[in-house]
Every structure is written in C-alpha cells, then in structure tokens.
C-alpha cells in the first residue's frame, strides 16, 4: 500500500507536543512501506515545529506561518486541515487527542467530509480500510470501528502509542493551501493562566495516577499519597470518602460522580474499591492496590497487590521510586 498520511502538529513555540510525537510514530507505521507522511503545522513557529518532526521520515511539510494562527482557537484549523488533506490527496489525517486535537477533529472531518474517530488506542490497515480500536464506557468495553470511504481523521488517546524520537533532518516545506490564508474565527483569546489547576500533570491526562482513600485517616496523612505521586511524576486522585470529608478538593475525585481516568498506571492506596470508584478507573492499563484488607474488592480489578499497612508501605515505596528514578 502507498497511502498518504497527514499529521497535524500541535506545538508550543515550535516544540511539538508529546501527543504529536506519539501520532508521528503511528503515522510512520501507517505510511510504510511505500506511502508518504506529510506534516502540517500552523503559526509563526510552524517551521521550527516541522523541522523537529522531519526525522519521522516526512517527505514534506505544509506550513501556514501567518502569526494570526497563534491566537486562533483550534477549531479554526478545521478548514486548513481539510484543504491540506485535499491538496495532498491524503487517506488519513492523524492528530494527538489533546484538547487541541479534540477541538479540531469534528470540524476538520466535516470540512473534509471524512469519517472520524477519537480516543483511539490501536489503528491498522485491514482490507485496504482503516480499522481502529478504542475504549468506551470509561474503559469498561472496547469497540472496533471501520472507517469507510477512503478519508479518515483520527485523534489518538494520549499515552496509548510510544513517542517517536526526533532529530532534525532536512525536508521540503511548502506553504499550506490556500496560500496566505488567515484563520476565520469570531473567537478571541484574551488571556492565559498557566497550570492553574495543580503543579503536576492534570488528572484526566496523566500517564500515572496515585489515588488515596479513607485508609489514609486524615488530611495530613494524605500527604503520603502526594509524595509518592511527586516521586512518580503522577497526578493525584482521591476516592469520594476523601473529597466528601473535605481532605482534598472535589476536583480530585475519581469515579462515577468524579473523573474517569485511563492512565498507563493507577495506584490505589487505602481505597476499598466500591463500584462507583471502579467505574472511574478500571480502564487504566495497569492497576496497583495497597490495602491491609485482603478481601477488599479493589484487589479483584488490580494487576498487582500489596496486602499491608499503607503507613509502612508508602514511605518505603516512595523511597524506592526515588532511588530507581535517580539510578
């Protein structure tokens, strides 16, 4: 097969987002052995972003370098993506499924008259068509979809694909059609507040989540969970017992009435595993439970369990993680 795959680049001042590097890896696989991978970047530092991605074996880059792209909402890129996909004769458009990717996915698909799928964790060619798999119902089930009609636009679930290393190489860049076009949008960005939510990664997007429950016994002890999370570079979550008691804010709650998370690794500490908590985290790839009650339901969904007193285990684990990461 020799398909053309168009990769939409998300970047901050020319540095590609991790989700874009993950999509680049898949793009390279879908374009091989005979196809083409083309990257599309917009904004005043589009060229720098495309250069960083040239190592993916992209034969060419399409650039929309007008500074107006810097401040427009992601949804305004839909028409640009569609026009570029048409001009390149692409079969597939790939985007990282971040807030950026998800805000432009549907609009690009509508403008390009393509089939769309989001939250994708696997993608491959089958009988000449693109087949994707994705978790649904908070990871309680998986669906397989066929994207028919020869035009597919896919947003990938963050962390589902390994990122591709990038080293600069030369490539051929051309302005993206329609040349010189500026984004059309009525939306105007008036400000930005960096990382307002918390210091670490946000709960919904984190690759690792460490959650604590009532077993911690007090708001002060909950700091043990935060220390482990910091050592792992993880986001902090909590059961409803913790948020209801006011030990930590409701924004940390995982479960039916809180957030649904699907990280690579979920560590549940002093959490019993009530069904309302489980529905928010069973989609995680690997689950670790630490609880002193061997009959706690959390052990039924966990991959690894430590039956023991969290007040002994957590400090040892935090120290071990620090050691392993330093070494």
């Amino acid at each position: 097969m020799s398909p053309t795959v168009l990769l939409v680049v998300e970047h901050l001042d020319g540095v590609p987002a991790p989700a874009t590097l993950e999509a680049a890896g898949l793009g390279k696989a879908l374009a091989s052995p005979q196809g083409r991978l083309v990257v599309l970047a917009a904004g005043s530092s589009a060229r720098k972003a495309a250069e960083a991605l040239a190592a993916v074996g992209a034969g060419s880059a399409r650039l929309a370098e007008e500074p107006a792209w810097d401040l427009c909402p992601p949804s305004a890129l839909g028409s640009l993506v569609a026009a570029t996909a048409r001009a390149e004769g692409a079969e597939v458009v790939l985007i990282g499924g971040t807030c950026f990717g998800r805000d432009l996915l549907g609009g690009a698909a509508a403008a390009w008259e393509a089939a769309a799928a989001a939250g994708v964790t696997e993608a491959s060619w089958e009988d000449g068509g693109l087949v994707v798999r994705r978790p649904v119902f908070g990871g309680r089930a998986t669906e397989t979809r066929r994207l028919e009609g020869g035009r597919a636009i896919v947003a990938l679930r963050p962390h589902a694909f390994p990122p591709l290393d990038t080293t600069a190489a030369s490539f051929e860049a051309s302005p993206s059609p329609p040349s010189g076009a500026a984004p059309a949008s009525t939306l105007r960005r008036t400000g930005f507040e960096p990382g307002a939510s918390s210091a670490g990664p946000s709960l919904s997007d984190a690759a690792i989540v460490v959650s604590g429950g009532r077993g911690l016994r007090s708001p002060e002890n909950f700091g043990l969970v935060e220390e482990l999370a910091a050592a792992l570079g993880a986001a902090v979550g909590a059961s409803r017992a913790v948020t209801d008691a006011g030990w930590r804010p409701g924004t940390l709650q995982v479960g039916q009435t809180g957030k649904t998370v699907t990280p690579q690794l979920y560590v549940a500490v002093g959490i019993s595993g009530a069904i309302q908590h489980l529905v928010g985290m069973v989609g995680s790839r690997v689950i670790v439970a630490i609880n002193n009650d061997p009959s706690a339901p959390i052990f039924r969904v966990a991959d690894y369990g430590i039956v023991g007193d969290l007040f002994e285990i957590l400090p040892a684990l935090t120290a071990e993680v620090r050691k392993a990461r330093a070494g």
Partner: protein, 261 residues
Amino acid sequence: MEIVVAVKPVPEAEARLRASADGSGLETDGVKFVLAGYDESAIEQALLLKEAHPPSTVQVLSLGPAARCEEVLRAALALGCDRATLVEAAPSGPLADPMGVARGLAAALRGKKFDLLLVGKQAGDDEEGVVGSALAQLLGVGYAGFVTDLRFDAASGHFRFRRTVERGTELWEAPVPLLVGLQQAWNDPRTAKLPAILRSRKQPIERFDAASALEAAARSLGAAFALPAPRTGAKLLDYRSPQEAAEKLVRALREEAKVFP
C-alpha cells in the same frame, strides 16, 4: 437569548454492558437510557443563563430512536427547558457514526436562529467528543470545547468563558452565535421537582425527520464490541519487609508491566 442544548441518551452508569448477538454493538434491550452527565451540566448552564438574562428560551434537541430520546427530552423539560425536538434516527450510541449524528442535528438546526448552542464535552458512552466541533463547522458558527465559567455580557452581546487545557486555563471572548462544548456549569445540575416531572409527561415534543441527512460516503461504523476479559485478580506480592515489597513492586512495574518511567 435563544439557547439550544443537544442532549444524548446514554445507558445509565449502573447498566450491565453486554455485546449484541452479532457482536457488532452494545445490547440495548432492557437497558435504561438517561441524560449524559456532561449534558446535564449543559442544561444546568443553559437554565442559569436563561434566569440571568430574561427573556430567554431553552430548546433541547436529541437525535436517535424515539423512545429513549423522548425519555431524556422529558427529563430536560422537567428541569425547566421550554421546548423539545426529537430528531428521529436509527440507534445512536457507541456504534453509530458521530459525523452522521452531527449532520442530522445540523439539518434540524439549519436556518433556525440561536445565540448559543451547547453540547456536552463528550458523552459518557462513546467518549468521542466529535459532535460539537463537527456541528459548528456544518452550521458555520464559532466553536470551543472544554469550556467552564461561561458568562454572557448583554451590553456587548459577547460571551466570555474559560477553556481548561493541559497547560492551564485560557480566557476567551466571542460574539453570538456561539457553539460550546461544556465541561462544567457554574453549579451542580439541579434535580427536577415532582410537579414538573408530571407536567413534562404531557408537554408536546416536536419532531424532525433527518433520515436523508445521515448518509454519507465516508463513515465510521462499528465492527465489534468487546468487554475486556474480566481481570483475574491481583498478583499479590510476597514480602518480609516494606522495603522488599517496594523493591518487588518497582521491579514488576519496570520489567513485567513496562509502565515504570
């Protein structure tokens, strides 16, 4: 202000999920459908804006099989929405084409005047989050998703809102009409009172036939639906000291599970 909220019927959270007989989709027989969680927030936000800016009306719109859409439309009427429209179509859900849904909703809204169109950030069942931005493109209105703290300034006719993304919070401004994918309303969703629930049973529901709008050459179609193999239970680590437990866990995460960074 004229506000429209698109609401999707989804299986209730407690529903036991099963694959249909042919394995291609979710078995919906005997499953109770309710408003998607983010759609409840979208309705709450619409009602709050209506109360803050009289005279305003809130119209709800739902596409799918009649019975389950009527359920959620009546639930929305009971909460205080003014009008309900059913866009009749084959089952929507994890295995329906989200772009088909967007085209069907766009057909029902084309040529109608509105100031604000609200959708949920994503539906709890299929988690696509595709419909909002597709609908905006099809109707030619501005769009932003992941929106919180949505305010309307009547003097300038502009909305102001926040958009919470990975790196922080963006502040935005946009004139009417606007389409928003809502992450969070100002308040937790209200609950309906019994008299309103009883009244909603008798309120009329308008119908729109969108069958012709749904088909297209490029489609995303369900081919298989699988429940994950039930987890067999945790591998419990043997240890003599907390130190040993920690070492064994880090080794397993690194070497077996390959999730340790």
